[in-house]
């Protein structure tokens, strides 16, 4: 322990100089990458590639000058382990990015994604409004009692909610569209409304819509949603 500096480089330990060189090189790489980005000397992919190259270079410098990898006693199991890890990392990182970009590229067209997002009440996807409501406003109630709907006509604004309340002991299944069609509204269709279990729909599509009981053409009403 007392006279270590002579053999340090051979034993895989650093000397003051290796640390100073490593430190200066790291500083140069860090500051270069920073200046490139701040001054926008190059742009886009070229800039990204350059700063990634600086990061990898700095990693190499630090692994060599600070961690002294590859300069210890032989055989170098730690180098083997490091190379294996880097291989795994490349597979995981490059593979994930490749797969996810590919998935994104081949995703369903925007209209259907929008529809899906609307149905799930996701109001923005990738900075684009989907038409889904971020907050809901007024609540309108439609009550079904003795096979009669009241009120039959509802006028609502976008992002209001509509609640179906069943006071009969039998189940009323509500479908959208004129009897006997089954259309969906805001991702909902064929909602079974039980006594004591009201169903609420967020009105995130404008227009005039009809709803009815799937088993009874007489039980029907409509609602109008305006902006």
């Amino acid at each position: 322990m007392s006279e270590p500096t002579h053999n340090d480089a051979k034993n895989g330990h650093g000397t003051t100089w290796t640390y100073i060189i490593g430190f200066i090189l790291s500083l140069v790489f860090t500051i270069n990458a920073y200046i490139l980005v701040v001054n926008k000397m190059v742009s886009g992919t070229a800039l990204l590639t350059t700063i990634l190259a600086f990061a990898v270079l700095q990693m190499a410098v630090q692994i060599f000058f600070f961690l002294h990898l590859g300069r210890g006693p032989k055989p170098l199991y730690n180098v083997t382990f490091f190379v294996g890890t880097v291989g795994l990392i490349l597979v995981v990182v490059v593979g994930s990015i490749f797969i996810m970009n590919n998935l994104h590229y081949n995703m369903a067209p925007l209209d259907s994604t929008k529809k899906l997002a609307q149905d799930e009440a996701i109001y923005q996807v990738g900075g684009v409004n989907t038409g889904a409501c971020q907050v809901t406003h007024e609540n309108h109630k439609v009550t079904i009692e003795d096979d009669k709907i009241s009120p039959v006509h509802v006028n609502a604004l976008l992002c209001d909610t509509l609640t179906f309340i069943n006071k009969d002991s039998k189940v009323h299944t509500i479908a959208f569209g004129p009897y006997p069609q089954h259309q969906s509204y805001a991702g909902e269709s064929d909602q079974a409304v039980h006594k004591g279990f009201p169903i609420t729909v967020t009105l995130n599509q404008t227009g005039a819509y009809i709803f009815h009981d799937t088993l009874d053409s007489q039980v029907t009403g409509d609602f109008k949603v305006t902006q």
């Binding site: 322990m1 007392s2 270590p4 500096t5 340090d8 330990h13 650093g14 000397t15 003051t16 640390y19 100073i20 490593g22 430190f23 790291s26 500083l27 860090t30 990458a33 920073y34 980005v37 701040v38 742009s43 886009g44 800039l47 990204l48 700063i51 990634l52 600086f54 990061a55 700095q58 990693m59 630090q62 692994i63 600070f66 961690l67 210890g72 006693p73 032989k74 055989p75 170098l76 199991y77 730690n78 382990f81 490091f82 294996g84 890890t85 795994l88 990392i89 995981v92 990182v93 994930s96 990015i97 996810m100 996701i122 109001y123 923005q124 996807v125 990738g126 900075g127 684009v128 409004n129």
Partner: protein, 204 residues
């Protein structure tokens, strides 16, 4: 044992035994670091995939401060350097130098952690929490995991330095310091990639 066998036969048995034990510990710790690196790689992959998904909210470009990130980087880099110099002092058996170099490393680490916490609290006060969107989830997970490593490194450093102060430098303490410095250099390398991929990349 395996990887010092060839050298072992040339040395006296007690010395080779000591060396072999040392190499085993170092190699074991190296294996830990590599698995830790794999974990970080996965978090980096998650961030790379999710960093655009801000749900219409502000992006990294709107929120990150490059001078702050650069300051953090320089602080951590300097601490990695002082830690290395401290290690040389440890191998040379200079207790006072070890305490001062590692003391500086500790303070720099603390400064780094303070800046990171400052950034995190600013984000959270502005309403950007880990559950705001996928971008912030992956950001806080990646950078926070590194921060937790730094915190545990600082705790470890404080305990080891207390031992150095109390018992002076012996072979075991020097080995502990060597592992600690390996860990600290490793965290600096991970941070280079956080600086590049999270902070710099946001402004490309």
């Amino acid at each position: 044992m395996l990887f010092t066998f060839e050298r072992g036969i040339e040395m006296s048995s007690s010395e080779s035994h000591e060396e072999a034990a040392n190499d085993r510990v170092m190699f074991g710790f190296w294996v830990y670091l590599m698995t830790d690196l794999l974990m970080f790689a996965v978090l980096f992959a998650v961030y790379a995939v999710l960093h655009d998904n801000t749900l219409g909210g502000p992006t990294g470009r709107d929120l990150f401060s490059l001078p702050l990130a650069l300051t953090e980087t320089l602080i951590l880099l300097t601490s990695s350097f002082t830690c290395g110099i401290g290690m040389i002092a440890a191998r040379a058996g200079h207790k006072k130098q070890v305490l001062s170099w590692f003391g500086i490393t500790f303070l720099l680490g603390l400064m780094f952690l303070g800046l990171e916490l400052k950034e995190f609290t600013e984000f959270i006060h502005a309403g950007h929490t880990i559950s705001t969107n996928a971008f912030f989830s992956s950001f806080f997970t990646l950078v926070g995991t590194h921060g937790i490593h730094i915190t545990s490194g600082l705790l470890w450093m404080a305990i080891t330095l207390a031992f150095v102060m109390k018992r002076g430098l012996n072979k075991h303490i020097v080995r502990k310091l060597a592992l600690l410095s390996l860990f600290w250099h490793f965290l600096d390398i991970v941070w280079i990639f956080i600086f590049t991929i999270v902070y710099l990349r946001a402004f490309v």
